[in-house]
């Protein structure tokens, strides 16, 4: 396959919704268990870092430490939810459960399947955000005036990280190998995207690198701006970055999966 073919817009139909529905139905079977992590995790982080460690930390950019990390916790959850759903989750469905093989024997095409998986990944991110926003708001850590906007924003961010996860699924030789992008890409991002300390404390070069190449920076920044109720123009830059990269990666990830699965 030539490089240009990875950028060809795939034909996706409304049938991808049936794939989304399939995953949603599985999710609903264990709904209580599935809702627990986004509920518990922010509480643990807030207790340990926000209120524990935070006592030794001065205000950051004029806000208390707990308020500083609260939006980042949502952003991290957005990243993990769809990345894991579209990497480990999709890989298991594709390789071990042969779910994709079964589906493509029906009028649903492989493009529909991958699109459905990506939409579902994004939905997982959105669900996590929807659970976390009220919890965090309850502690008074975010301004609730625009907080609901975080939910659609999480969907967009979820699409982005889902597409990233799917690209790795398309090339990974086995399930263990997905640990590499987690270790080398996701974990550094978790730490160095302005999540637990502000980006501007890093050397300028690293800052530029983070802004140019680390998607989480833009999700953290976006959710922080919305969460503080300060919709500044810079939010448009984050939105534009996410939208463009997301659109490109969605196309590329679907084409990469096609290449892997159509043999």
């Amino acid at each position: 396959m030539r490089i240009s073919e990875y950028f060809r817009i795939p034909t996706v139909s409304s049938k991808s919704y049936t794939v989304w529905q399939r995953n949603k139905d599985v999710f609903m079977k264990d709904i209580k268990l599935n809702f627990l992590p986004p509920f518990i995790e922010p509480l643990l982080y807030l207790a340990a870092l926000g209120f524990g460690l935070g006592r030794f930390i001065e205000n950051i950019d004029g806000v208390p430490y707990a308020n500083f990390i609260a939006p980042a916790l949502i952003a991290i959850s957005v990243m993990y939810a769809s990345f894991f759903e579209c990497s480990y989750g999709s890989y298991v469905r594709m390789y071990y459960q042969k779910t994709f093989d079964a589906i493509i024997a029906t009028p649903v095409t492989i493009e529909d399947v991958i699109a459905g998986e990506l939409l579902w990944g994004a939905t997982r991110s959105m669900i996590n955000a929807a659970v976390m926003v009220p919890v965090i708001a309850l502690f008074g850590l975010i301004d609730i005036s625009y907080a609901l906007l975080i939910i659609p924003f999480a969907f967009l961010g979820g699409l982005l990280f889902g597409a990233i996860g799917m690209c790795f699924t398309a090339v990974t030789p086995n399930i263990m190998a997905i640990n590499y992008p987690v270790l080398l890409f996701i974990t550094p991002m978790f730490l160095f995207s302005g999540t637990f300390f502000p980006l501007n404390t890093l050397p300028p070069l690293v800052q530029y690198f983070a802004i140019a190449f680390l998607p989480l920076t833009h999700i953290v920044n976006g959710i922080r701006l919305i969460g503080y109720g300060t919709l500044e123009p810079v939010l448009l830059f984050d939105l534009a970055w996410i939208t463009v990269v997301c659109a490109v990666l969605l196309v590329v990830s679907i084409n990469m999966m096609k290449k892997r699965l159509i043999i």
């Binding site: 049938k15 049936t18 529905q21 399939r22 139905d25 599985v26 079977k29 459960q97 042969k98 779910t99 093989d101 079964a102 589906i103 493509i104 024997a105 029906t106 009028p107 649903v108 095409t109 159509i262 043999i263």
Partner: protein, 292 residues
Amino acid sequence: MKKYKDLLAVNDVSFTIDEGEMFGFLGPNGAGKTTIMRMIQCVSPLTSGSLEIFGMDAMSHPREIKSHIGVVPQENNLDMDFTVYENLLVFSRYFDIPRSEAERRATELLEFVHLEDKRDTMTESLSGGMKRRLILARALINRPKMLILDEPTVGLDPQARHLIWDKLRSLKKQGVTVVLTSHYLDEVEKLCDRLVVMDYGKILVEGSPSQVIEEYVGSGIVEAENNPELIECLQRKEASYEVIGDLVHIYTDNPKQIAEYLTMECSLSKLTARPATLEDVFLKLTGRRLRE
């Protein structure tokens, strides 16, 4: 034609399957049967050549074609996250079958394959035979015009096998075209209207089971113990025979005559005459060596 990278899996095959007929693909492991099934299902693109199904091109109309096909794949791929009944319902959505209609069909099909008792069991805890039956039910959820079965009875006990063949016969009566592969040659012989035997990606013979048997081994076979005397005797008679280890197979249209000749002229006694089967054709055409 179909290539996997440099491996030529299906080479220069050409076949026509008539509506309402039961058509078998036979061949040793790796012959290319599954590859052809996957091409007919429109999930594996042809490297070259053309393939038309229901008068539509497989490459340009996959959605329409697939909506009228039911598939039983060689490898089980039931949805492990769902129960037996849910498997059918979830699958029906891929075909846009309305919910109430899907529920009706699912219940009906579970009865058809005798799985009504397992309705709410997770598919993981089904036995191998039950899984195969459920896959058959799943393949029928869209009321297909054509059913593609890749070794539908692999690993099944005789009861389950008979049940499946029984169901296939009744589907055929309803006008469904059935395309299948199987290594149970006696069953293929009984069921299929026409068949092909393939090897190394090529079709070796095509015809009805009786035609193929007649043409390639004759109607009967005499089995005798291998010894030099016998071989000499057969060569004198210019008979068609094959040596298989300790055994000699003599292919003939008239087993009685050969048997008599051998007892009289060569004073051989240990002989068995039997009708020729598809298995004899299969082994004669594809050799007896095990495939890698």
